[in-house]
Amino acid sequence: MSWAGFKKSVNRAGTTLLQKTGQIERTVDRDFAEEEAKYKTYEKECQQLQKDAKGYLDAMRAMTSAQGRLADTIGVFYDAADKTSEGAMAAHAYKRAVDDLDSGLGREMDAPYRTTVMEPLGKMCAYFPVVNEHISKRNKKLLDYDSARSKMNKLIAKPSEDPTKLPRAQQEFDDTKEVFDMLNEQLIAELPQLLDLRVPFFDPSFEAMIRMQCKFAEEGYEKLSGVQRYFADNVRDDYAAGQLDAQVEGVLQEMRELTICGAS
C-alpha cells in the first residue's frame, strides 16, 4: 500500500471510530441501502446457482462414468466362469449402452451445457467483484465525506483564528461530496438496472436447462432400456416380484456352505 493509501486508511479508521462513538455524524442513504441489499441477495443467489449448475454437470458425468466402471466390473464376474452365457451377453450390451451414454453425454451435452448454463452464470458472477469494488469505494468515500463535513461544521461552529482554514475545509467538503455523490448516484442508478437485466440475461438458459435435463433422462432411459432385450423373459417380472433378491440370497447361502468357506 502506498503511503497516501495508508494515510487514507488510517484516517478512515479514525472516522469510523468517531462515528461509532457518535462524534461524527454518519450519512445514511436509504436508497442505496435498499439497492445494496437487493444486490447482495442477487449476488448470493447467482453464486449458489453457479455452484449447483456445476454440481449438476459434474454429477451427470460422475453418474455415467460410474455406470461404465460398474459394467466393467460385472463383466469380470462373468469372465470368471462363463463368457458365453446369456448373462455375459447382457453384461456386454449393458457396457455398450453405458459407454454410449457416457460418450454421448460428453459429445452432445457438454458444449451446450457450457454455452447455455455455465457461461452466462460465469459471466454474471465475474461482475460481482467489480461491482463490490464500486460499493466499497463508495463506502470509503462516504467516510471521507462525513469526516470533511464534520470538520467544516466544527469550524463554522467555532471559527478558527486562521481565516484560511474554513474555506479550505469547505473546499475539501465540496470535493469529497462530489466524489461520493458521483459513486453513490451511479450505484443507485445502475444497481437496479443490473438487477433488472438478470431477467433477459438468464431467461434463455431456463429453457435450455430443461431441454438438456430432459435429453439426459431420455437418452439414459432409451439407451439402457435396449439392454433388456438380452434378458430372459422372466427377469423383469422376477425383479418386480423380488425374486432376484431371493436368488442373490440363495447363492450367498450356497457359498457359505462350501467347505472352503468354513474356515475349519
Partner: protein, 404 residues
C-alpha cells in the same frame, strides 16, 4: 536348494479368485460412487431450480417482472412449477437409493465376507504347502545322506511320519480347493446375474423417474425433442442484448481512479449531477429485447396417458413397505423362494389420473382422483380394464389410471 511345489491347476483358480476379489471391491466402490453421484445430481438439480426460481421472482421492492420483461413471461410463470417438480424428483429418489443400498450394496458386502473366509482357507493351504515342502526337503536330504547315524535313522522314521501327515493335510486341502473353487466361480456368476439384473432395473428406474417427471413438467410448455446442438443454437437465437447492456454499465467497469472519473464527469456535464448513468439503459430494455424474443413453440397438449411413448416403465419394485422388512427377515433364513413379496394382487385399487367420459355402453366413467376397484386387468396399460366404483361396473382404458 529347497524345492517348492507348484500346482498349476490350483494357481489358475487362485488367480481367478483374486480377480473376483478385486472385482467385488470395485463393485462396492463404484456402487457407492454411483449412488453418490445420483444423489448429487438430484440435489443439485433441486437446488438449481430453487435458486433459479428465486432469481426470477421479484426481489424485495421489485414488482411486476412479467410486465417489465414480457419476453421472459413464460419462464417467470414456470419457475415455480419447475422448482416443485425437481423437488418432488429429489424426494422420489430416496427410496430408490435405499433399494440400491439394501439390495446391491448389502449382498456385495456379504459376498466380500464370504470371500474373506475363502481367502483364509487359501492362506491355510499355503501354510500346509510350506509344511509339506519342508518335510519333503528334509526327508529327501536325510535319505540321500550316505552315512546315517543312529540319530538320523530315528529322525528318518519321525520325518516320514511327519511328511505323511503334512502330505495328507496338504492333499486334502488342495483337493478341496480344486473341487470347490470352480464351484465358487460358477456361484459368483450366479450371484452376479440376478444382482446385475436388479441393479440394471434400479438404474433404469432412476432414468425413468427423471424422464417422467421432467417430461411431465415440460409437456406442452417446452419442446424438448431437440438435439444438443439445437439447444445451443436456440439459446443463441433467444439471447438478447442483455449482456451488452450489462457490459455498458459503469458499474461493471473496473475502477481505475476516482479522480479520473470525476474529471471525465466534469468534462461531460460541467459538474451537473444528472448525467450519471452512461446510457438510459433501463428504458430501452423491454422493447429492445422483446423484438428478438421468439414465441415458444407450444406443442399441443398430449392426450391423457400420452406418455405412452415410454409406455414400458421399468417395473415398479412392487413389494412395498412390508416387503422390505420381510426381506430383511428372510436374510437369515434359508433361501427357498420365500412367500414374501406377492405380486400386487392386493393392490386391487387404482386411482384415476384423468377424467374418463363413457363412450359406449359398458364403459365405466370416472373423474380424476376416483378410486376404482379393479375387477380384471391385463398386463398392458394400453388395454381396456374392468373395474367397479360403488355398484357401477364397466371397462375403462388402463392408461387413465395409476396404482393406488
Amino acid at each position: 536348494m529347497s524345492k517348492k511345489s507348484i500346482d498349476p491347476e490350483f494357481e489358475d483358480y487362485a488367480r481367478r479368485f483374486t480377480s473376483i476379489e478385486d472385482a467385488t471391491e470395485k463393485l462396492i466402490k463404484d456402487t457407492k460412487a454411483y449412488t453418490e453421484s445420483v444423489s448429487k445430481l438430484f440435489t443439485h438439480g433441486a437446488q438449481y431450480a430453487q435458486h433459479f426460481a428465486t432469481v426470477f421472482h421479484p426481489m424485495q421492492s421489485e414488482y411486476n417482472l412479467e410486465g417489465k420483461h414480457p419476453e421472459a413471461e413464460h419462464t417467470i410463470q414456470n419457475v415455480d412449477a419447475y422448482e416443485a417438480a425437481l423437488q418432488e424428483l429429489k424426494s422420489a429418489l430416496a427410496p430408490e437409493l435405499e433399494l440400491i443400498e439394501s439390495r446391491i450394496l448389502g449382498p456385495a458386502k456379504e459376498l466380500q465376507g464370504v470371500m474373506k473366509m475363502i481367502r483364509k482357507t487359501i492362506t491355510k493351504r499355503e501354510h500346509k504347502l510350506t509344511d509339506y515342502d519342508r518335510y519333503n526337503n528334509s526327508l529327501t536330504k536325510l535319505r540321500d545322506k550316505k552315512e546315517k547315524t543312529l540319530n538320523d535313522e530315528k529322525n528318518l522314521f519321525k520325518l516320514e511320519q511327519d511328511f505323511e501327515q503334512a502330505s495328507n493335510d496338504y492333499e486334502y486341502i488342495n483337493t478341496t480347493m480344486k473341487n470347490e473353487l470352480p464351484r465358487f466361480m460358477v456361484q459368483a456368476t450366479q450371484f452376479v446375474d440376478p444382482l446385475f439384473h436388479s441393479f440394471f432395473y434400479m438404474q433404469l428406474n432412476i432414468f425413468y423417474l427423471m424422464l417422467e417427471k421432467l417430461h411431465g413438467f415440460a409437456d406442452g410448455k417446452y419442446d424438448v425433442s431437440v438435439s444438443g446442438n439445437d439447444i445451443a443454437a436456440d439459446y443463441e437465437n433467444k439471447r438478447t442484448d442483455a449482456w451488452e447492456k450489462i457490459e455498458a454499465l459503469g458499474l461493471t467497469q473496473r475502477i481505475v481512479s476516482t479522480s479520473k472519473m470525476v474529471q471525465s464527469r466534469r468534462a461531460v456535464s460541467g459538474g451537473g449531477p444528472t448525467s450519471l448513468s452512461r446510457s438510459a439503459t433501463s428504458s430501452t430494455t423491454g422493447s429492445a429485447s422483446s423484438a428478438t424474443a421468439p414465441a415458444f413453440k407450444k406443442a399441443p397438449p398430449p392426450p391423457p396417458g400420452a406418455n405412452s411413448t415410454y409406455s414400458a416403465p421399468p417395473p415398479p419394485y412392487s413389494p412395498s413397505a412390508s416387503a422390505a422388512s420381510s426381506a430383511a427377515a428372510a436374510k437369515r433364513a434359508p433361501p427357498p423362494p420365500p412367500p414374501l413379496k406377492p405380486k400386487p394382487k392386493a393392490a386391487a385399487y387404482v386411482v384415476a389420473v384423468y377424467d374418463f367420459v363413457p363412450q359406449a355402453d359398458g364403459d365405466l366413467g370416472f373423474a380424476a382422483g376416483d378410486r376404482i376397484e379393479l375387477v380384471e386387468r391385463t398386463d398392458s396399460a394400453e388395454d381396456w380394464w374392468t373395474g367397479r366404483i360403488g355398484d357401477r361396473q364397466g371397462v375403462f382404458p388402463g392408461n387413465y389410471v395409476q396404482e393406488a
